[in-house]
Symmetry: D2
Subunit: 103 residues, 4 copies
């Protein structure tokens, strides 16, 4: 299953704080929790799901700052899509931890 790592930066916010936008983004994710799994990190939001669902959710998230009056948004997306075996967020962490223990 592909995993997406997304940051959505509102430009023109007057103050340096953007946490209210991030909180709003988490609500939109909550509304999509039947289709995608997600996880907030200190630097971005990680989302796993089927590719069409991910692109659908990304478009919704990108609209959040605009819906709150912001006029410019810089969105950054990393997609990791592996198709030779079923990959999940949990399995990716396990693979690294195993490699570290073995050596």
């Amino acid at each position: 299953m592909p995993i997406v790592d997304i940051t959505i930066i509102p430009i023109g916010t007057e103050t340096p704080s953007v946490s209210s936008y991030v909180a709003e983004i988490q609500k939109v994710l909550q509304q999509n929790k039947d289709k995608v799994n997600y996880q907030l990190t200190p630097m971005s939001t990680l989302i796993e799901g089927e590719l069409p669902d991910l692109f659908h959710v990304i478009q919704q998230l990108h609209e959040v700052p605009f819906s709150k009056g912001i006029m410019r948004v810089a969105t950054n997306i990393r997609i990791d899509d592996r198709r030779d075996k079923k990959s999940t967020m949990a399995k990716k962490l396990q693979a690294v931890e195993q490699k570290m223990t073995l050596e």
Copy 2:
């Protein structure tokens, strides 16, 4: 009009060269030239168009390495979406050049 900056990295290519994948990506863009404008830079591909068209094209481009037998793809996308005035790739460069001349 939003502008997208995209890199598509095939993982597991045996050799360090990825230019054949980039060339294939340019062909897919050519097939979409009635909907989006695009430009190849030494580091990525820039695409401008309406948001639904951009997401449609991004999904097509992300599939290119898989269609050539690659099993894992890392796609990186930056979206710059400004809605207070019509922005284009050409206008963005002009704005910076003007600022540099004025000072």
Copy 3:
């Protein structure tokens, strides 16, 4: 304190798996744990510390795949640097959680 979010992709690996490189990167981070805090996520590594230390560590991490014989590396770095108040990885998560509870 600035926070960095980094992915280091080795190109030309023959197989789609990169977890052995990620494990090696974690070891280099361990050697720097007196200077920086770090955290592995399913999509990247987050590092917090003073800016000169961060850039020093980033350069070390970027060398890891080359030291294992890889000839091309694609490194992606996001820096979040806030100077109006002391920001940490833990505080950033708290700020979002507070905003979500209040509403």
Copy 4:
């Protein structure tokens, strides 16, 4: 020679325009033109040079918005570092163009 692709987003700018910051960044690059080559695209700045010089310049560029009173900066960096043959911005474009003509 490694190539860097960098965007520097000032957060808390009151207006959606960031071109004055980009213009200032170009001046800092001009002061470093004996060490690095650079090119402005509509979405980012591309810089090629030796790795220590690139990291030195990146740190200078990241400081630009702070020097103009901004309190938070989001910097995004892509590094493409190929060591099996001498790569330049011009050669990378040529490689893709050749592949497109051959087919």
